[in-house]
């Protein structure tokens, strides 16, 4: 398996703040790589450096063994978190412009754009001004602009934020399809549950540093099946009496309980049965969110969030 994106000991500061601090990871060819972490952890800065938009202070970044440069930019299809289109330009003209900037000539660009517009049932919008399109429609045009030059590497920064459900599904399909064609995909998100379904490999970011990186299956396996999913009906106060557990995703009739200290899961079941009616009891690997919290430490995250509020 060859390495497509290689980030080696990269750092970047903005004045006093260290946005990215000695970060290293590798994304392999033909796989989906997830960059995870809370807002402000340094994901976007890292992605911008991979895209040669921002330059790193220290360290090296290679794309297919080439140091990042305008040349490597053309190998990448990039959809930033802050994304948009020229509102006053026509869909067709705009897509041609963006494709030309990625190095395509006009004829090839036209051909590819026609293919994708037809594929997304959007060919009728060809001569419409982007400002006239609905939000969902312009999101589709945005996808096309990202993939039209047919690169081998795709980078999506928070791709699902702001997408309507239909386009969310569409993007997932595109990503899976691109992967099946052998392309490399890297995307970032602060919503862990999205990653679980799609990523092969992950890299957890916190405070500008990598806290965990590797194969998602392996990471989960290493954490063991020590999480209880409980569905119940009735009094939930027994949950508060449990010691040495962390309860995530608690609602009136559901709880995700992470056992921290070798407590026998059967004890939880017993207590639950005394108080309420059990509909489901399942032992699973911890969720990514739980893995993140236990790696970084609950207090750390809270402190960060409070600092941000101030």
């Amino acid at each position: 398996m060859s390495v497509t994106i290689s980030v080696q000991n990269v750092s970047k500061s903005f004045g006093e703040t260290k946005a990215v601090d000695n970060v290293s990871f590798e994304a392999e060819e033909g796989r989906i790589f997830g960059l995870l972490g809370p807002n402000g952890a340094g994901k976007t800065t890292t992605i911008r450096m991979i895209n040669y938009i921002t330059l790193q202070d220290n360290g090296k970044i290679f794309i297919n063994d080439l140091p990042v440069s305008p040349k490597t930019q053309k190998l990448i299809g990039y959809m930033p978190e802050e994304r948009g289109l020229y509102k006053k330009m026509k869909v067709g003209e705009q897509l041609i412009y963006l494709a030309q900037l990625k190095g395509l000539n006009k004829t090839d660009a036209k051909e590819k754009i026609t293919y994708w517009l037809k594929r997304f049932n959007a060919y009728d919008w060809h001569s419409k001004v982007v400002g006239e399109l609905s939000k969902g429609m312009s999101q589709k045009i945005q996808f096309i602009s990202t993939i039209v030059h047919n690169p081998e590497i795709y980078i999506f920064d928070e791709p699902f934020s702001g997408l309507d459900p239909i386009n969310s599904e569409l993007l997932k399909e595109i990503i899976i399809e691109l992967k099946e064609e052998g392309n490399t995909i890297l995307f970032s998100t602060h919503r862990m549950e999205q990653v679980e379904q799609m990523c092969d490999d992950i890299c957890l970011f916190n405070n500008g540093k990598v806290v965990l990186t590797g194969n998602l299956r392996q990471i989960k396996k290493d954490y063991g099946k020590n999480t209880v999913l409980l569905e119940f009906q009735g009094d939930s106060s027994f949950l508060d009496e449990l010691d040495d557990v962390r309860i995530n995703n608690r609602s009136t009739n559901f709880a995700e309980i992470r056992i921290l200290n070798g407590l026998n899961p059967q004890e939880i079941l017993k207590k639950a049965m005394q108080n309420s009616e059990i509909h489901k009891f399942q032992l699973v690997e911890p969720s990514l969110n739980e893995i993140f919290i236990s790696t970084v430490g609950e207090d750390n995250i809270k402190m960060q969030q409070e600092a941000k509020l101030l």
Partner: protein, 433 residues
Amino acid sequence: MNWRQTYLVLKREYLTRVKSKGFIWATILVPLGFAVLIGVGIFIAAWDSEIEFTIGVFDETGEVVATLQEIDEDRYVDYSDVPVDTLRAMVQREEITGYVIVNESHITENQNLELIYSGSGGLQLLTAVRSDFRESIRQERLRREDVSQDIRNIFESSVVIDSRRLSSEGEETDDDTEFLSVVGMFMGLIIFGAIFGYGGYIMRGVIEEKTNRIIEVIASSVKPIELLTGKMAGVGAIAITQFGIWILAFTGLSAIAGPLAASILGPDASTSQMSGELAQAEEQLPAILDIPTLETSLIVYFVIFFFLGYLLYSSLFAAIGSAADSETDTQQLMLPISAPIFIAYIIMFHAMQSPDSTLSVVGSLIPFFSPILMITRIAITEVPFWQTSTAILLMMLSFVGTMWLSAKIYQVGILSYGKTASFKDLAKWIKQS
């Protein structure tokens, strides 16, 4: 720098702008606006806007008031038989604007006259009253000395000085200083307007890319410096197009307007009784409608200073656009740019009067003032070659400086969202990149 990318940006900037409604309207409306402005100016200047006022004259000699009434019957009223206290009361009641007491000593002893008035009427009133009294008192003095009509004529005669220019090559030409001053002012004004107009275009374009959130998509394909250069060149091409249209339209219109006006005015002229004047009138018509020819060198210099001025300022406008989060936030950031332009604008009116004064010369050599001041001076006076070449050289050097500075601000600015940067932030960005 990849010139293909720059060219693609240039082409997009140019094509989207040249096809926009804004461009078409500006191309039509700006000359119209200019014409209206000039028209209004002429109208105001030509409008007989004399204010009406009455001055009571208490004349002990009885002679001066008669002359005053000859000058303006309505303005000066003889109140010689009214007590001064009543005159004061009349001023207070606003029945008259003011009063003046004239007695023998004013005529024989050169004593100052005194106008007691309500204070309204402003400078125009004071000037009118002063000149009328000066005239009347003088006439009265002349009358008393019993001077002959010949000498009175001498007093009323006017002396005219015509001027011709002698160049250092010994060539003597008609002097059009008045005309050239107006040309110089217009050229300065056009550059002044163009810097703000096209600079504003660039600034709004940068802000639009930021607010549309397309900038990062573009930045993943194009280097900031390529984007900046492409934008400046694209808007520069727009400027050439727009001026091209105006110049073509203007020359076309004046080519048509000359004969047209002659054919309309021609018959009117023939109705004037003296047939001898007819030929003369026809000869004069084209001369009025024709613009006196400008020297080619002046036009070349105009183009040079226009573009250097544009280049010097446009990158700064782009930098400000990149630092602002919305168009309304640009006000305070604009100050360092608009201040020098406005200072140059103010000095321009001084340079029109006195193009070779130290202030004008020094001002025209300061790169940020040169585009406006130097062209005004070149139009009016003979500017030594070393001055124009120094100004051009300094502007080129400054352009390298502003471009360097702007590129640094721009490449950080375009990717910072959420708040408008302060000058402190800008300094940080310059150090950082």
